[in-house]
Symmetry: C2
Subunit: 342 residues, 2 copies
């Protein structure tokens, strides 16, 4: 899922996303609750209508944003009391309210409110937090109506495999429509991520989507798919694009590099995206150096296309029962990647 925090995947038009075959994007409940607010989205007829997006939408619960963005956060059994990062106004979010908000947004996949913990946290603190998150999940489950909206539970448990397992087992017992693995941040060491996912993934119902939140880089998509993950969301393709980093098979190119100044070839020869079929590295570098608006736009088009193609290849390899072989080849290419030869 491309990330459309504020009801827009940064720099991308809906038509860009459709053209690449993206069928679901992620939006942030926390951000949309604060701006433009529930009333306006309701008046528009829900989030799809508000942003004119015909595909699916998953809304996260705000747990992570409350943890990372809000000010003067006060957490209790009831939920969160916090100050908006936008204007300092005071708000309350509870497990029930977060579901009601997502019902007003009419997203296709809703997420339960969870508590995100600073990492690393000790076992006692992690256990307490997990218990709270599970009680909150139960409360969310109770107010989830029998409607067309799916509701996913979120596995927590920090760096403790047994707590991750317990979390998965308890959530599975609540019969959610899908299960997310949370509490993993983008910068986290791969080993830790692997450990957390490995501990719980087999305890989540195989017939339901399993979603690794906030992950990841191309190699993460490949390797966590191998572990059984079905869904991902990450800002990496779009955020890196805005920084001038273009994904290419095996690695990435930093287009600001001086060696691209007079390089008239496309970023990725053979790529079918608008950027690669229209513009040269030389021109793209010029746009980035001159801080032009078109620079992040064209880079986002390419990176989202790259991720879309990658996920398509993963799906096809699985369908054709040759994913393991495909994955070995993919990693071999990655190890052999030499950006200077690009």
């Amino acid at each position: 899922m491309p990330v459309g925090t504020q009801a827009t995947v940064k720099t991308a038009r809906n038509s860009d996303l459709q053209q690449d075959g993206w069928r679901i994007i992620l939006c942030n409940t926390y951000h949309l609750y604060l701006r433009p607010g529930k009333e306006i989205i309701e008046k528009a007829g829900g989030l799809h209508s508000f942003m004119s997006w015909n595909g699916n939408i998953l809304t996260d619960s705000g747990g992570f944003q409350l943890f990372s963005l809000s000010r003067l956060r006060k957490q209790s059994e009831e939920g969160y009391r916090f100050q908006s990062h936008v204007d300092g106004s005071t708000h309350t979010l509870t497990p029930e309210k977060v579901i009601k908000l997502q019902m007003a947004f009419d997203s296709d996949v809703m997420m339960v409110l969870d508590e995100c913990l600073e990492q690393p946290s000790d076992r006692t603190r992690t256990e307490e937090s997990l218990e709270l998150t599970l009680r909150w999940a139960e409360r969310a489950r109770k107010v989830h109506p029998e409607n067309h909206q799916a509701l996913f539970g979120i596995v927590q448990g920090g760096g403790f495999p047994d707590l991750r397992r317990k979390s998965a087992d308890v959530l599975a017992g609540m019969d959610f429509d899908g299960y997310a693995i949370g509490g993993i941040s983008v910068g986290e060491p791969r080993k830790q991520m692997m450990k957390a996912v490995g501990a719980c993934i087999d305890h989540l119902p195989e017939k339901r989507p399993r979603y690794l939140m906030g992950v990841g880089k191309p190699e993460d998509l490949v390797d966590f798919t191998a572990m059984g993950v079905d869904m991902f969301d990450c800002v990496v393709p779009t955020r890196n694009a805005r920084g001038g980093s273009f994904f290419v098979p095996g690695g990435h190119l930093n287009i600001r590099n001086a060696r691209f100044a007079d390089d008239m070839s496309p970023v990725q020869p053979g790529c079918r995206c608008y950027t690669c079929t229209t513009h040269s590295r030389s021109y793209l570098r010029h746009l980035f150096i001159a801080k032009e608006w078109l620079a992040p736009i064209l880079a986002t088009i390419h990176n989202l296309h790259y991720f879309s193609v990658l996920m398509g290849k993963i799906r096809m390899a699985i369908d054709e029962r040759r994913f393991s072989a495909w994955r070995r080849e993919w990693h071999a290419r990655r190890r052999a990647f030499d950006p200077s030869g690009y």
Copy 2:
């Protein structure tokens, strides 16, 4: 002509411009000379190829940018010595060098180097400057090869009608492919602009394009066309777009206005642009308030479409010999414009 200063019309893709039927854009010789530089554009095979633009390109001479942007500018009979606004490096631009640069860029319309004067200037200073500009025009004309590139002269003469006339007469005698009226800045009172154009337009060959530089707003396009002007360039559609100002028949809407917060209608009902056929005022306001990348992108699409449609209507009215009547109606609509009723 939409303005593509640094070989990009800000936020717009080439495909956007093509879709609206834009057949010529303006790029700035001064900017492109400093960055990415002549060598890179030459290596790309010219500016069209560098920016992958299949339409026509007019490159201005840099006279106005030397006046408004460069530092420690020193002007002599020979030309300009100045420091780059990008990195402080020292450069020289002469009437001959500016033509050579534009030949390397392979633009379709080249402009002669002129001296832009701070306004108002007294008669003696204006006369001296005009004489220099005319000598520079002669020098540029001499090095203009018989190739596919057109070369336009630029009328100067500040606020003095007789100097404007003299300038037009002398330039007409040099047999340029087209004639520009320069030295008019965007903020200048309309009366003054009218006076300057009125003084010289009939002294410019009717069979050659007459181009009013740096103008203008919709009402300027309508009224100066009535005076005989054939070509315009202006940052107004794109710059105003980035500020949240959407042009609509008769006026414009500032989309940040609170009354649009829950307004689910398109910016301009009936408009066929991507923005109006896809998104609501409410969503567009949200994007601007949330400072999202997509905001200026969608606004630029609409404003360029609006200007393209306006120029199309002007051309059609002229073709059908009903321009005066059309213009009267257009102004009546403008006088009756009530943004709150929009």
